[in-house]
């Protein structure tokens, strides 16, 4: 077993430090404070009435499969804005192993030339 002084000492690199136990103490105290503040609020609600239905702002409600957002559509905002990068990359991926080995040979050759000459 490690000694207690090794357990509680601060982790240091040459450019920074961190002690996780101090952060753990702060988290526990902050959790207690926030829990006490939260206890001032109102606890109950009327279950199983109109209150617990999901807010759809008046739109019609369909069955589950058509309403759920699929996981493959989750990063739509990200891929839509970088579409011009993904279009070029898509054309490069033909699925043919000969093309992939050709790319490999070209990049290795360029690397050897750069490292040898420069």
């Amino acid at each position: 077993m490690i000694s207690i002084y090794d357990f509680i000492e601060t982790l240091t690199t040459d450019s920074g430090f961190w002690n996780p136990l101090i952060w753990g103490v702060a988290i526990v105290i902050a959790f207690l404070i926030v829990y006490i503040i939260r206890g001032f609020g109102n606890k109950g609600y009327k279950k199983e009435t109109e209150q617990t239905k999901v807010f759809l702002s008046g739109n019609p409600e369909y069955k589950e499969e058509k309403m759920h957002v699929k996981a493959s559509n989750l990063y739509w905002g990200f891929t839509e804005s970088l579409k011009w990068v993904y279009k070029v990359l898509d054309k490069m991926h033909t699925g043919n192993v000969s093309d992939y080995v050709l790319w490999f040979v070209i990049i290795m050759g360029t690397l050897f030339i750069i490292l040898g000459v420069i």
Binding site: G95, N96, V97, S98, V101, L102, V105
Partner: protein, 114 residues
Amino acid sequence: MIYNIPYIAVVALILIGLYAVIFKRNLIKIVIGITLIESGVNLFLITLAYRQDSIAPIYHGEISRLMSLPVPHALTLTSIVIGVAVLALMLSLVIHIYRHYGTLDARKIGREEE
């Protein structure tokens, strides 16, 4: 000069194998090309293990002659076995592809989404 011939053979094997992988369309020819590259690499490993005027690293009873390095020999054995396993897997996949698509042309398979 005569001691450099195995190295030239290694370069020739690897280049021929790379040519077959990049420029040939038949899947069986691509598999043969991959096997050629593996043979070239194995030959390279054994050629590196040679010291001048040495014999094979096996004890006969007398230990007065210079011996070539034994570790690359062991590595090459392992590499040959790995090559056999990869060749078996590749050939079985080629058989499945032929049963599914009916052709072995690398540019005609895998175009289902368009």
